[in-house]
């Protein structure tokens, strides 16, 4: 792979942007937040993040925001992923791996069906969002 320059990245990004504008997709509808605390990292959350990036790109889905948070407090079922999607209640999924990530996109985001075996609750507050107090 030839080393990409910033200009090349910019060109690729601009061409993707105009392509999407032509498809008339509005601002983001759904949000996927991957828990990237110590527990998440140790459990393989980076692979889960990668899975979302790959799958959303493969399906050419652009109206989903993918972000990271710190620990969500559900360390015993990491990797965890919070999904906020219109028409669905906000959900925190646990024990997420590459396959579950794909199911979340296919079932939860696209078909508005929860991946029930992986739903959990949230007890903690994410302190990374506030930049540590």
């Amino acid at each position: 792979m030839a080393k990409m320059t910033l200009q090349e990245l910019r060109k690729l990004r601009d061409s993707k942007k105009s392509e999407l504008d032509r498809r008339d997709i509005g601002s983001k509808d759904s949000q996927i937040i991957v828990g990237m605390g110590t527990c998440g990292i140790a459990a393989g959350a980076k692979t889960v993040l990668d899975a979302f990036i790959e799958e959303l790109n493969a399906r050419q889905i652009s109206n989903v925001a993918v972000t990271q948070s710190g620990c969500m407090g559900l360390c015993y079922v990491e990797p965890t992923v919070e999904v906020i999607s219109p028409g669905m209640p906000p959900v925190i999924y646990g024990k997420v791996d590459t396959e579950v990530a794909k199911r979340i996109i296919r079932d939860h985001i696209l078909e508005k069906k929860m991946v029930s075996e992986h739903v959990f609750d949230r007890p903690s507050v994410d302190i990374i969002k506030d930049g540590g107090k």
């Binding site: 792979m1 080393k3 990237m36 990292i41 980076k46 990036i53 972000t67 540590g132």
Partner: protein, 181 residues
């Protein structure tokens, strides 16, 4: 705890962000013999007494998890470097920031795999807050620099899947170039 050296890096850089750092400088220096990671931040820093406590696995500031009895990030990293006769150093000044440095000998039989550097750098860049990261990655006499604000200017949106995919490709190409002759 962590499978790869990159996971330790993710863990430590998170500490910097949790400490309120607005600038995190990461250096990844690799030779044929070893790999050294250095994370320098301008977060709230630690006083002398606290510096001694953070290496204790049973110490936690209880900010993140109120009832927690363990704070494992740094103790586990120290243990990992000790297992392979690596190096670890932690310096901090309250109100100024903290610098963590750790070095692993790559040819030691117990040295963990390095991991996915491109993906780790990507993960470091996409937290949804205002902060700056500069990553200087070198392998022997080659290397590259990644600056979050520069990439933000090019991509504008770090949460768009299309941009994340491009960013991943960009970072992968930087890593791949290190192997080219």
């Amino acid at each position: 705890m962590h499978l790869s050296l990159c996971d330790f890096l993710s863990d430590i850089t998170q500490n910097s962000l949790e400490a309120g750092a607005s600038l995190v400088k990461v250096k990844i220096r690799q030779t044929l013999e070893d790999i050294e990671f250095c994370v320098e931040d301008n977060g709230k820093g630690m006083r002398e007494e606290l510096l001694k406590k953070v290496t204790d696995p049973f110490y936690s500031d209880k900010e993140k998890h109120i009832k927690r009895r363990v704070g494992l990030g740094i103790p586990f990293l120290i243990q990992a470097t000790e297992v392979v006769d690596g190096q670890f150093s932690l310096q901090s000044k309250e109100g100024e920031g903290t610098t963590v440095t750790f070095k692993f000998p790559l040819n030691h039989i117990d040295c963990p795999p390095i991991g996915d550097i491109a993906l780790t750098i990507l993960s470091l860049l996409i937290y949804s807050m205002q902060y700056e990261v500069e990553v200087t990655r070198t392998y022997q006499n080659k290397g590259y620099v990644v600056v979050r604000s520069q990439l933000e200017e090019v991509l504008e949106d770090f949460s768009s899947p299309a941009n994340l995919f491009l960013l991943k490709q960009y970072l992968r190409s930087q890593e791949a170039a290190l192997d080219d002759n």
